[in-house]
């Protein structure tokens, strides 16, 4: 084997083992890397008790109630739900039915008191007319082919 192929083989081998090592480390840190827990995970008791954490999901349509500066809404992952209370200004993209990430603590009553609420938007970009058409199609019960 020529020296240069040997060196190339060593480099590729080292890179492969480094990749595997990184993969294992990231896998072990999985729960620490995740930005938020879902309401289902909270229900399973995976959220830290008495400590600050982030919960993420969709704002349940129709659940938003405002009382002065305090907003109350329900975060859902379509199987479990968690009520959230937040005093402050909500981001512009905060919408019912859209993604949200709230940071705060779980109170004994089961309500999540948020100190920060961030909007998580999706990766779809379309003009308003197209969005309108999509919504109309949904209402008509037409399934869209992606």
């Amino acid at each position: 084997m020529k020296a240069r192929y040997k060196r190339l083989a060593i480099i590729l081998g080292a890179l492969a083992s480094l990749g595997v090592a990184t993969g294992l480390i990231l896998n072990a840190l999985n729960s620490n890397i995740a930005l938020f827990v879902t309401p289902s995970e909270v229900a399973e008791g995976k959220a830290p008790q008495g400590a600050t954490f982030r919960v993420g999901g969709l704002v349940k349509p129709g659940s938003l109630k405002r009382d002065g500066l305090t907003a109350r809404f329900v975060v859902t992952d379509t199987s479990k739900e968690i009520p959230v209370a937040y005093t402050g200004i909500l981001p512009d993209l905060f919408r019912e039915g859209k993604g949200v990430v709230a940071q705060g603590k779980l109170t004994p009553s089961g309500e999540f008191t948020a100190t920060e609420v961030l909007a998580k938007h999706d990766e779809n970009y379309m003009p308003p007319e197209a969005k309108h058409a999509v919504e109309q199609a949904h209402k008509a019960g037409v399934t869209l082919k992606q």
């Binding site: 480099i11 930005l35 879902t38 992606q146």
Partner: protein, 249 residues
């Protein structure tokens, strides 16, 4: 050795590469301007308003091409580093060195535009989610590469040390790219992927791809310019540099 390989190696010689790069640079620069103007025009005047984000989404025409380039340039650097380590070609280290500042600039641009986009849409300038953190790590990898290069006087030793750093850092690239799939993040998923049709309007996509092409052309032009300067510096004692007509004018 086959004749095909000999031809390849011909262009890996700085003496052959230097004039070739000089001829190519104006073309790449012109294409960069052309695609850049076309892309920004489509992005700002032709592409429709976004249904959710209004006009604010238009920063995507800078943010996404900059982020793509930041990752792609690093992969090219890692490629040249592997070539340099295994084949011991002089030009490989020069190419990797020439690319590093451009990669760092695109990474910074990606982080800055992302931050400016995050504040109005998400409600925060910065969050330590997997996507943002790994992109910041990429920025430090570029800075580390540039610093390591500057710290070693002998260019051939610097080439080898930097090549190892570049290759170690390349494991971060798939982490950045797949972070939004592997973990839950505040950053949204990819709108463009190889496995499914893009989830954005056609004119939006066109604008983004044009700016991305412009970023490619710009990167090639400036990297070649920088490579030529490095070649002159490293080979200043050789006959062919001493005899260069532009240095004797």
């Amino acid at each position: 050795m086959s004749s095909r390989l000999i031809n390849w190696f011909r262009y890996s010689s700085p003496a052959t590469f230097y004039p070739l790069a000089g001829k190519l640079i104006p073309w790449f620069a012109a294409l960069a301007v052309l695609f850049g103007v076309a892309g920004l025009w489509v992005g700002f005047f032709v592409a429709p308003t976004d249904a959710q984000q209004g006009e604010g989404y238009r920063i995507i025409f800078l943010h996404v091409p900059a982020s793509w380039m930041s990752m792609f340039i690093y992969m090219v650097m890692a490629f040249w580093s592997a070539v340099g380590l295994s084949l011991n070609t002089r030009l490989s280290g020069i190419m990797a060195t020439a690319l590093a500042p451009t990669g760092a600039i695109f990474t910074a641009l990606s982080l800055i535009t992302g931050s400016l986009w995050g504040k109005p849409m998400w409600g925060t300038w910065w969050i330590w989610d997997a996507r943002l953190t790994s992109e910041l790590l990429l920025f430090f990898l570029y800075l580390g590469y540039i610093a390591l290069r500057a710290a070693i006087d002998d260019p051939r030793r610097a080439d080898r040390a930097c090549a190892v750093l570049a290759l170690v850092g390349v494991v971060n690239i798939p982490v950045i790219y797949f972070s939004v799939q592997w973990w839950n993040t505040l950053h949204q998923g990819s709108s463009i992927s190889l496995t499914r049709s893009p989830s954005m309007a056609h004119t939006m996509l066109l604008g983004m791809l044009l700016v991305a092409l412009a970023a490619w052309m710009y990167s090639i032009a400036v990297a070649l310019t920088r490579a030529r300067a490095i070649i002159l510096e490293r080979e200043r004692h050789t006959d062919w540099v001493v005899r260069l007509p532009e240095l004797n004018a």
